[in-house]
Symmetry: C2
Subunit: 409 residues, 2 copies
């Protein structure tokens, strides 16, 4: 990939994604396959005035060896330094932010013992829960961007010599890197999303009713004091950041006990390095009571059984079918992109920022408002070309939110 | 590089270098450029019964960006998790061992502010000193192996397309990977070194007198109760390991106050990612009182000024000119190889194992015996083709140790 474009992408990640502040420490979590881009992000961070950059390398190929050969006991033995390696920076001079670079192979762990991986992942999530509080509550700026890896590119474009180049081009397109000034293009996009968000907040919705010819008939009751979020988030210190690059979604908090009906996933979903396809869920009183999948139902079962909160919803997000990512016609096999191509719901943890004043509330208070809590937060794409969403308003009838898969207003 | 050879090399590193025990945790410190080999080492470790493998990635190219752009204050701000990330494994079930994979570019930091790098390195060494106690005292098994990187290969063989392949071949040759059974070949080599070590110990030497036509005229008084080590080291639990692969040296502890005379380095020396060439040192009462270098004298000065102990010797090692590494005629620009091509002395920290019962002695006791202590331990090659070493024996005259650069007995 052309270096100038890569540099511009790194600059966009640091300036728009993180909104890096002078004197701040930036953690970059990156797979070693993405080293070239990670280094450029580090350089852009220093050029933007970072105090320091901390690189956190990972390697899926090593993880695969480890998952294959280490015992469940060893995999679940998460040492104290792993949490410490995040928390040590929370009080760093100038504060900390974290940029996650993804380059996953959607089937990195194909054929492995997924139950073992599930337990290992849960152990890591449990151990890192105190750090997760910082990102889930927007106490630190965080952002996720992606670059191609060989395995990923081949899954998307087939085993051809130019698969990686094609994936680069697709990512650059949906990340608006073809705009004359990508940073400016994202300012415009986030301003647009902010207007949609404000319109939705003004509607005072208490529930959403999703219907589609694919069989979906789902009513999601929203948390008490739920508020719509979209585009930029803000830390308590006022640092505006874009948690996902690209982002096309407006999202809010379901009430964990108020979802009813059936929903069919419209895209496959990657979990633990493998694909769940043809997934459906039936909810009663907010919880999944019945479910199925054409492929990897066992993996779906593991996800649902993670903990008390993994059978309820933590997020509902609206993305019109006009989203550039959907328009690209590409199935990315990567949640960062696929969730921004279609409306989605997330099983698991809710974002405190999606209830009124939520980032300052205790866990107990949040749960009283109906916000779900879990170790997982996994997006499932449900948007279709004919999706219809009716909003149920506080006290006074319904309002058309989506018609034919796009905004109705 | 052919995969079967790489695998054999990984197996040699894990079985001979570390002597991995079943149920042990292996830390692998590896530059991301050496990922393929690091993964093979991880796999070999699991196959040999490791409980788990912990990968510690690093990246010189990122380090270069960081050294260039971060302030000295930021670079010296070493967080507690960094030490913790080692110590957390000390009490792991089955114990821990550490394999260091090198792939350094000898001039990775060329042109940077080396004084800043020096301070940053010293800060890291200070912070990690409690972990260093474990390796310096052989309380955990540790080993160092190397694989080519592009920058390193080009420094050794010039900017040609096959430089990396040439360096692989050179490394494999001196690591005896061309033997029918490399593991067996190393058992034989270490048995040979052990015999030399025993012969030297039987001589009861109190000092060594080095002379060469290059101007070297150096007398190194040995520490009280100094004992020669070579080939395998052993942990308190009885795990035999080979700290360097390859290894051709027999070494012992100088007395920190008893070196006198002048010594000229016979090979350039890499420090802080740059080369010191044409180096000489003059000692009085064990300390460097005068010194010079044809290139990068400033860097030598930094090394000598690190701390109280960095002007005295912590090791003297004997390597005959017949060493396969010297015979290869290759200047590796990497201490792991170059120190095994020629006799060398180390400025800085001494190995407790090189005085009688030293790994069980307190720091105070060790210093009373004359063992040097420092944050650094830096090998300087002094062996020449005409090197003569006379050993001064306890009470009764001298004995020929080296003649014409090789063993005299």
């Amino acid at each position: 990939m052309e270096k100038a474009l890569l540099q511009a992408y790194a600059k966009t990640a640091v300036q728009v994604g993180i909104g890096l502040k002078k004197g701040q420490t930036l953690m970059i979590a990156a797979p070693i396959e993405a080293a070239e881009f990670a280094r450029l992000c580090a350089l852009e961070a220093y050029l933007a005035g970072a105090r320091d950059v901390v690189m956190r390398w990972s390697d899926e190929q090593f993880s695969r060896i480890r998952y294959q050969h280490a015992s469940e006991q060893a995999l679940c033995d998460v040492k104290p330094w792993q949490l410490q390696s995040y928390l040590d920076y929370v009080k760093a001079p100038g504060g900390v932010a974290i940029l996650n670079i993804l380059a996953q192979d959607p089937q990195a762990f194909l054929g492995l013992d997924l139950a073992k991986i599930d337990k290992a992942s849960a152990a890591v999530r449990r151990a890192l829960a105190p750090w997760r509080e910082y990102t889930m509550n927007d106490r630190v700026a965080w952002s996720i961007v992606a670059v191609p890896s060989r395995g990923w590119a081949r899954k998307v474009f087939g085993d051809t010599a130019d698969a990686e180049e094609k994936l680069w081009n697709a990512i650059f397109k949906v990340c608006r890197m073809d705009a004359p000034d990508p940073v400016q293009a994202w300012e415009e996009q986030t301003a647009f999303l902010a207007r949609r968000r404000d319109q939705l907040n003004a509607m005072e919705l208490t529930a959403l009713h999703f219907t589609s010819q694919n069989g979906t008939d789902l009513t999601i009751g929203l948390a008490d004091t739920a508020r719509w979020e979209g585009a930029k988030s803000t830390t308590p210190d006022g640092q505006a950041f874009l948690a996902n690059l690209p982002t096309e979604e407006i999202f809010t908090a379901p009430h964990k006990e108020k979802t009813e009906g059936v929903v069919y996933a419209s895209r496959p979903y990657v979990y633990h390095g493998d694909l769940i396809e043809g997934l459906w869920l039936r909810f009663e009183k907010g919880r999944v009571v019945e479910y199925g999948a054409k492929k990897n139902q066992k993996l779906l079962c593991m996800l649902l059984d993670t903990d008390e909160g993994s059978r309820s919803l933590g997020e509902v997000a609206l993305v019109p079918r006009q989203s550039p990512i959907n328009q690209s016609g590409i199935l990315f096999y990567n949640t960062l992109f696929d969730e921004n191509a279609a409306c989605h719901i997330a099983l698991g943890d809710g974002y405190p920022s999606t209830v009124q004043g939520g980032t300052a509330l205790s866990q107990e208070k949040l749960e009283q408002l109906g916000l779900n809590h879990s170790l997982v937060h996994e997006d499932i794409m449900i948007g279709t070309e004919d999706l219809r969403i009716d909003g149920i308003r506080r006290g006074e009838g319904t309002v058309a939110v989506f018609r034919d898969g796009g905004w109705a207003f």
